[in-house]
């Protein structure tokens, strides 16, 4: 696909010029060839074409059948230059814009794998709890009646329902099948076979940080 397109352009553009013959086994030395090249146009269809092998500087060709076409080609050239320049600028902008947005760090820098800020210090009253998100699973932060904090996974070890804190019994309870855990996450009664995974709680300033042990 690409090569056909390019080949076609090759044919259209007709970028051909002569160089003297090079010996069969002498290596092509890119710039050596260039120095030896003849700048005389070939006796072919492009005889009248001034070889304008410049690096893009606008030199109007000498083949002017009339000043009109020279002016037209000059204005076309300018138009093309503007179009191309604009296109390149727009494309660069469309590449640069996402990169610049990318470089700005998002608000939340915590990946939530090892530690998470679960709540603020004044958020929970004694003998109450909060379900918060830890990574991709729910977790439970309890403020006991004595005012201490306990944190543990909120995924019941029986069939993965989300447990809750019960103020009346001051225990952790799973409403699905009546599993009961104590405030250290130990399974007391009901179907749960294992304790809830316990997390560490650190209070840093105003924030309550919960850390996976």
């Amino acid at each position: 696909m690409l090569c056909c397109e390019v080949a076609r352009r090759f044919r259209l553009a007709g970028v051909l010029r002569e160089t003297p013959a090079m010996g069969g086994s002498i290596p092509d030395r890119g710039f050596a060839a260039a120095r030896n090249q003849s700048r005389i146009a070939s006796p072919q269809a492009w005889a009248d074409t001034r070889s304008n092998m410049h690096t893009g500087e606008t030199v109007p060709p000498n083949i002017s059948p009339g000043g009109n076409s020279a002016a037209r080609s000059s204005s076309r050239r300018t138009l093309l230059k503007t179009f191309l320049g604009g296109g390149i600028a727009a494309s660069l902008a469309s590449f640069l814009y996402p990169v610049l947005r990318y470089l700005v760090p998002p608000v939340e820098t915590n990946l939530g794998v090892d530690s998470v800020v679960a709540a603020t210090v004044h958020e929970l009253k004694p003998n109450s709890a909060k379900i918060f998100r830890f990574g991709n699973r729910p977790a439970l932060l309890i403020r006991t009646a004595e005012g201490e904090y306990q944190a543990m996974s909120a995924t019941c070890t029986h069939l993965s329902c989300t447990v809750q804190y019960r103020k009346d019994t001051q225990q952790v309870w799973c409403a699905c099948h009546n599993g009961v855990y104590d405030l250290n996450g130990r399974n007391l009664s009901g179907p749960p076979p294992r304790p809830l995974e316990k997390y560490q709680v650190h209070i840093q300033g105003d924030e309550i940080q919960v850390i996976k042990t």
């Binding site: 076309r76 093309l80 179009f83 296109g87 390149i88 729910p138 989300t162 699905c176 179907p191 294992r194």
Partner: protein, 431 residues
């Protein structure tokens, strides 16, 4: 060494040095070594019985290792504690005068064990929290009653607890450790030839091994999962009756039994003489329940009694509809969220919220035991709301993804324009 040890040593040396059978010399050497291993052992734990019995062939064989694993030996008891005799002396070891009883008659085993294990004051010296009502319970059990009637083929203490290497139940190698109980019961109860005279089924062990309770214990490692003794009792082993088996299940499955009690089946089953729980879930082959059990499909249990047109059939249909509806909604939400996540969209909060719908479905499945569709619907309602919310979140995420594709389209246009521009420019400078 004390006097008795010296005497014994002298005897042994005499035994070894006198010409006699190779076996005698062997025994002598063995005991000599044993002596040197325990030179200052106190008279109480001296166990000459093992000197001979460790080298005998079964059924007389009791090795020192076997006996060392025995909880009784660890507490300082000897062979003579049960078998009588004088363990400190070679001569008097099996002397009737010294109280030797020989092999204990099966009918007397429970009494023998109970002579210590029913004595609370005595057991308190060793383990104050150990129960002492085993013998009393045993007398109420089927095994105990049959033994009293003269049948010695039934289980006595040693059949379950093993004889000489009795380990506490907490020991993983013990025959009465929860992991091993079913196999211990199955030694008789799964043996069709042995059980022929009793005319009861022998497929319980095979069924139990396929059950979800067995899986909970062995695969998921939950030692509190039920085994034979949990429902049948251990010392007072007897099958729970038709009328009372539901009480057994309800010790763990509290919610289900509460709902069952409020439902229409309790009275119906009682009058039909059908056991609660077991009628639908079986007693030993309790498999993992699935939604197809409730409802009216191919695998339905309801249709065993209910037929099309009656109230039960309609209730069953209603219940299954609610469950199936919530399950398919959850699956739909999960699918769309997974698709969005694979496309790189951020949907983790919605995925977390969807867990609540899973919880609702779990609770709805418990509510099935009320056998009323309204109660099931109560639980599924919240699940449906969550599923809806998460589904919409998934749709939003996919819309955002499509917006990205629009952005891509724009940049493609720009690139196309640049390509055209380049091509024209090339043509221009090369004309």
């Amino acid at each position: 060494m004390n006097q008795t040890s010296t005497y014994r040593l002298m005897r042994l040396i005499t035994m070894i040095s006198t010409p006699g059978t190779a076996r005698q010399r062997e025994l002598g050497l063995a005991s000599l070594l044993f002596l040197f291993v325990l030179p200052c052992v106190s008279a109480q734990t001296q166990n000459t019985c093992l000197d001979c019995h460790s080298a005998l062939d079964p059924p007389y064989r009791v090795t020192a290792d076997q006996f060392a694993a025995n909880i009784h030996a660890q507490k300082g008891l000897t062979c003579a504690s049960c078998h009588g005799g004088d363990p400190t002396s070679d001569d008097q070891a099996m002397s009737r005068k010294a109280g030797f009883r020989g092999k204990i008659d099966r009918k007397q085993i429970p009494q023998l064990c109970g002579s210590c294990h029913s004595d609370a004051a005595y057991i308190r010296q060793f383990n104050p929290s150990l129960r002492t009502d085993q013998l009393a319970q045993y007398h109420t059990s089927v095994h105990g009653r049959k033994l009293a009637a003269g049948d010695t083929r039934v289980a006595v203490c040693t059949d379950c607890h093993s004889v000489h290497d009795i380990r506490p139940a907490s020991d993983v190698h013990s025959t009465v450790n929860p992991l091993n109980v079913a196999a211990t019961c199955g030694r008789c109860h799964a043996n069709p030839d042995y059980m022929k005279p009793y005319g009861i089924a022998t497929n319980q062990f095979a069924d139990y091994s396929k059950s979800v309770h067995h899986e909970a214990m062995v695969v998921r490692g939950d030692l509190s999962a039920p085994t034979c003794t949990t429902c049948h009792g251990n010392h007072g082993a007897a099958p729970p009756g038709v009328a009372t088996v539901a009480n057994v299940c309800s010790t763990c499955h509290v919610f289900q039994s509460q709902l069952f009690d409020t439902g229409p089946h309790k009275a119906a089953f009682a009058s039909a003489g059908l056991p609660g729980c077991v009628t639908c879930h079986s007693n030993h082959l309790i498999v993992h329940p699935n939604d197809q059990m409730a409802g009216t499909g191919e695998h339905s249990i309801c249709t065993k009694c209910h037929s099309e047109g009656d109230a039960g059939f309609q209730a069953a249909t209603g219940i299954q509809t609610h469950l199936h509806d919530l399950e398919s909604r959850i699956a739909r939400s999960r699918e769309i969220l997974d698709r969005a996540a694979e496309s790189g969209m951020e949907v983790s909060q919605a995925q977390l919220d969807l867990i609540q719908a899973d919880d609702a479905l779990t609770k709805a499945r418990v509510a099935v035991h009320s056998f009323r569709p309204e109660k099931v619907a109560q639980e599924t309602a919240s699940g449906q709301a969550v599923s809806e919310k998460t589904y919409r979140a998934g749709l939003d995420a996919l819309r955002e993804r499509d917006r990205r594709r629009l952005g891509l389209g724009i940049s493609l246009l720009v690139i196309a324009a640049t390509l055209i521009g380049l091509r024209l420019w090339i043509r221009e400078i090369e004309r």
